[in-house]
Symmetry: C2
Subunit: 164 residues, 2 copies
C-alpha cells in the first residue's frame, strides 16, 4: 500500500517542455468507482499494465494499492470498464527539488493539460513552477475517474473559461 498525497494544477504555458523527459503514454479506464474506492486499469507505453485500487479522495490524500497484471488481461478489463478510456502522455519535469508530472490528454480530453506533484504530507510546502495556473486539487471535475465519465470535450465554454 502506498499513501498518496498529491496536489494538482492546471498548466498555463508550454514552458515545462524545456525540462521534460520524453514521456510515457498512459491508457487507462475505470472498472468501477464507488463512494469508497476507484478501481483502475492502466496500460503504460502499450507494454505493461497495472490494476490499481484507490481509496476515495479525502482532500489530497488517498491510499493506493497497485498490482501488475498481464497486458492481455488489461485489454480485456478495459472492455469491462464503466465510462470512457483516458489517453494521455505523462511527462516528468523536475522543479525546485520535486518531480512534477505533466499530463497532456488526447482523445476525448484533448486540450486539457494538468500538472501534479506528490508531497510527503498535506502540510508540505510546494513551490509551484512558473508554468502552472490555478490549483484544482479539490475540483472533482479534474479527477481522472470524472474525466472518463465526462470528458473535457463535453465541458461548456464557461466551464473551460473557469479552467483557465
Amino acid at each position: 500500500m502506498q499513501h498518496e498525497i498529491e496536489r494538482k494544477f492546471l498548466v498555463a504555458s508550454d514552458a515545462w517542455r524545456a525540462g521534460a523527459d520524453s514521456g510515457r503514454r498512459l491508457r487507462q479506464a475505470y472498472l468501477a468507482e464507488t463512494g469508497r474506492a476507484a478501481i483502475r486499469v492502466r496500460v503504460v507505453d502499450g507494454s505493461s499494465a497495472v490494476l490499481t485500487v484507490k481509496s476515495a479522495a479525502a482532500g489530497a490524500s488517498r491510499e493506493e494499492y497497485e498490482y501488475p497484471i498481464p497486458l492481455a488481461d488489461a485489454d480485456a478489463l478495459i472492455e469491462l470498464s464503466s465510462g470512457g478510456v483516458l489517453d494521455k502522455t505523462r511527462f516528468r519535469v523536475p522543479h525546485a527539488g520535486r518531480t512534477w508530472e505533466v499530463d497532456v490528454y488526447s482523445g476525448d480530453n484533448e486540450g486539457l493539460v494538468v500538472a501534479e506533484v506528490e508531497i510527503e504530507d498535506a502540510a508540505a510546502k510546494v513551490e509551484p513552477p512558473p508554468w502552472v495556473g490555478r490549483e484544482v486539487t479539490d475540483d472533482r471535475r479534474y479527477y481522472a475517474a470524472s474525466l472518463a465519465k465526462r470528458p473535457y470535450r463535453l465541458w461548456s465554454d464557461s466551464d473551460r473559461r473557469r479552467s483557465a
Copy 2:
C-alpha cells in the same frame, strides 16, 4: 483469464458431508459491482488473498481475472468495500466424475448452503448428487455479490420457503 461456467444448486440434506474434504474458510467482500463487472477481495484460510475481477454474469458463463495480493492489502481493501463481508466454508465433494463445491455460509448468511459445479461448456451434462435441491444458477439473489448486499438473514419467510 479463466472462462468460468458454473451451475449452482441449493443443498437439500447433509449427506454431502460424508464425501467432503476438511474445507477452506473464505472471507470476501466486493469493492464494487457494476452492470459489467464485479471486483472481489477474498481471504482464504486467513493466510492468503486474491483480488478478482469477474465479468457480469451472462447466464452461467463469466470471465474471471484473479491476482494474488498481500494479506495486509486484502484486509485494508475489505474496509473499502461496498456491502457486507461474506463468511463461508467451502468444501470439495467429488460426485460422478466432477468436483462439487459446497458453501456453508456463516455470519449474516447463516443457514444458507449452496453447491456449485464448474462445467466445461454450457451444454455439458451434469448429474446432480442426491443431496442437492433446486437449481439457482440464474437466481440473482444467490449471487455472492447479492448476498453481500442483502444477506440471507434479511430474506422474508416466503423467500426462504421458495428456497427450499
